[in-house]
């Protein structure tokens, strides 16, 4: 009968044990790739970790390598079953699937990165990256000796072409002879093609390469192995990959926005919005590499400062690379037109679409 006594003892003990505190908020996040990519997914993960650290009692559910297909819906549904009340769908292609779920679960808040859809419980956020590329162009234009810059682009949507254009405008502002060569790989992440694309650009004479793909790692590593400069994008962590060739870069700083959103969900005060903040808020300049001289650093910082204070590089008159005026004198393309780019500015070699 001793075992029965121990059983009853244990039972009464468990009644006295304090209940495990339920998390104040369970947040779910899906990534299209791996968080170890030194790039986009890493930046999202860093932002969410900052949010989790800022709000004690937050539980974070993460799923990596979630494809941009119905599978995403299944995984997000699973997170909602586990109690998630705020879901971050971090890749462009997750939009429709998150939106479908938002209709099914009106009590769960969804935040999608990079799209345009909105509803009562579905908001959209991203960084206004285009203008931020202008100081990157200034850095590249000052550092290039061959007057050729290389840009590896994943999928040539309007926003990406806008980035390339701002980069070219910045470079041309310090070097009127500079040319930007673009290679499109066709996918946000195809390491084999990115490596070949970078090599091709370097073969064509580019001595500064940069990119808009999910992970800057492959492009930067190939550039470093061939002794050319690189400029990073998506995550500041990428500078570790190129001790010699790193110039500067752009990194997303999602943390403050994510923390504010989580707080608004906890307080029940969430308001859907289309958030597109730029340099100084959602995106920041990476530290300069050792190769960049003081004078150039000052120039780049000055350009970044100009952008933060509201300078719009897309102020007319601006002609495309065939000579046709696309932005007339007196006009300026603002944030809402950034997705409309299907032409390259003068100085960019090639066809946009």
């Amino acid at each position: 009968m001793t075992w029965l006594r121990w059983l009853l003892f244990g039972f009464f003990c468990s009644l006295a044990a304090p209940a495990v505190a339920a998390p104040d908020l369970t947040v779910g996040a899906i990534y299209v790739g791996s968080v170890n990519d030194f790039g986009y997914n890493r930046s999202m993960h860093d932002g969410l970790t900052a949010m989790k650290d800022a709000i004690p009692g937050t539980r974070l559910l993460e799923a990596e390598n979630v494809p941009e297909s119905a599978e995403a819906e299944r995984i997000m549904e699973g997170m909602i079953q586990q109690g998630a009340k705020l879901i971050f769908a971090t890749s462009f292609g997750h939009q429709q699937f998150a939106f479908n779920l938002a209709k099914k679960h009106p009590d769960v808040v969804f935040e999608h990165a990079g799209g345009w859809m909105q509803s009562a419980n579905f908001g959209n956020f991203f960084a206004a990256t285009q203008a931020a590329w202008y100081p990157m162009g200034v850095a590249a234009g000052k550092m290039t000796k061959t007057h050729t810059l290389g840009f590896v682009a994943g999928v040539p949507i309007g926003y990406v072409i806008g980035n390339i254009n701002a980069f070219a405008l910045g470079a041309r502002s310090v070097d009127p002879d500079v040319q930007v060569r673009v290679v499109v790989t066709g996918s946000w992440s195809d390491k084999g093609k990115e490596a070949a694309a970078t090599s091709a650009l370097i073969d064509q004479g580019a001595d500064v390469v940069t990119m808009h793909v999910d992970s800057p790692a492959t492009v930067i590593q190939v550039a470093e192995s061939r002794g050319v400069y690189s400029i990073g994008f998506q995550s500041i962590a990428a500078s570790a990959l190129a001790p010699k060739g790193w110039l500067t870069g752009l990194g997303f700083t999602w943390g403050p926005f994510m923390t504010a959103t989580a707080k608004s969900v906890i307080d029940g005060k969430f308001k859907p919005a289309m958030v597109r903040d730029g340099l100084g808020s959602m995106i920041a300049l990476a530290p300069f590499g050792a190769a960049v001289p003081e004078a150039t650093r000052a120039l780049v910082d000055a350009a970044a400062d100009k952008i933060e204070k509201g300078y719009n590089p897309f102020t007319g008159p601006i002609a495309d690379n065939t000579g046709v005026i696309r932005i007339k004198a007196g006009e300026a393309w603002g944030g809402d037109k950034m997705g409309d780019f299907d032409w390259y500015v003068a100085g960019v070699v090639g066809k946009a679409k």
Partner: protein, 290 residues
């Protein structure tokens, strides 16, 4: 276009075609023995992830390649057991192998995503696997067409009943062919992660396994033609990127389609009279003579 650029384009073609060539040779050996392996994509992925993991753990890229080969052999032997000893449908089993490879490679590679490894070092202009590509092709040709084992293998692929009657063991020979094929296919994958991209990412072969399967048909099941095929297709992929960098005035969407369009065209026009060159018993399971 000057000489240095032309040289750069040629070398990119050769390097890009190498992983395709190894994969094609791997598939070719199996098909010559009568087994079509649609899971080549999975085997390449297993090779890529195991090779990368091996190089990351040991610090030696050659050990990575060795690890990849061993993993490829294991994967193909597993497929072989299902198809040879249990008599499963080869096409279905092959596709299962592909999905298995997708998942297994992701599992193997997961702890190593973002790791920085020393890739295959360049010996002169190219790394070792590129230098060995053409000799491997020649060696395989010699093996298939100038040795007794090769003759038995081809006999099993054409008429396994006849080979069986002659005292050969078709199942054993098919196992051996698959083992060799698995090693070659996995090495093709390892070249991608250890020489081309210097990284591992889920699904990084991006369909190259299937292009390799098409190349076997293009090559008329002959290792020497496979060399030409790999250069053509590897070149198509590498060159379209070079042409984009050159600033050619064609939409980048069309440029990225070129390797796949080429594959399709080749299969449609050349596949016609080349099908007669296929091993007669390809795809059929030999279940013994009653």
């Amino acid at each position: 276009m000057n000489a240095t650029l032309a040289l750069a384009m040629i070398s990119t073609t050769i390097v890009s075609g190498t992983s395709l060539l190894y994969a094609t040779l791997g598939e070719l050996v199996g098909e010559r023995a009568g087994i079509v392996n649609l899971g080549l994509e999975g085997v390449m992925l297993i090779g890529a992830s195991t090779g990368f993991a091996g190089a990351a753990l040991s610090g030696n890229p050659y050990l990575g390649v060795l690890a990849a080969a061993v993993a490829g052999v294991a994967a193909n032997l597993m497929f072989g057991y299902v198809v040879i000893s249990r008599g499963a449908n080869q096409l279905a089993a092959g596709l299962s192998l592909m999905f298995f490879g997708l998942g297994a490679s992701a599992l193997i590679g997961r702890p190593f995503v973002g790791a920085i490894v020393a890739g295959l070092p360049r010996l002169g202009a190219f790394d070792l696997l590129v230098w060995l590509a053409a000799p491997t092709s020649l060696l395989l040709w010699g093996l298939l067409f100038r040795t007794r084992w090769g003759l038995s293998l081809r006999a099993v692929g054409e008429a396994p009943a006849a080979a069986f009657a002659a005292g050969k063991r078709p199942d054993l020979i098919q196992y051996q062919a698959l083992a060799l094929g698995g090693a070659l296919g996995a090495v093709g994958g390892a070249h991608l992660s250890l020489a081309l991209a210097l990284t591992w990412d889920e699904g990084m072969t991006a369909g190259r396994g299937f292009i390799a399967i098409a190349l076997v048909i293009f090559a008329k099941w002959n290792p020497l033609w496979a060399l030409a095929g790999a250069l053509v297709f590897g070149g198509a992929e590498a060159l379209q990127l070079q042409f984009q960098a050159l600033g050619v005035d064609i939409s980048p969407f069309l440029m990225n389609m070129i390797p796949y369009l080429l594959t399709l065209m080749i299969l449609i026009f050349w596949g016609w009279n080349r099908r007669s060159a296929a091993p007669a018993a390809l795809g059929r399971n030999f279940l013994g003579v009653e």
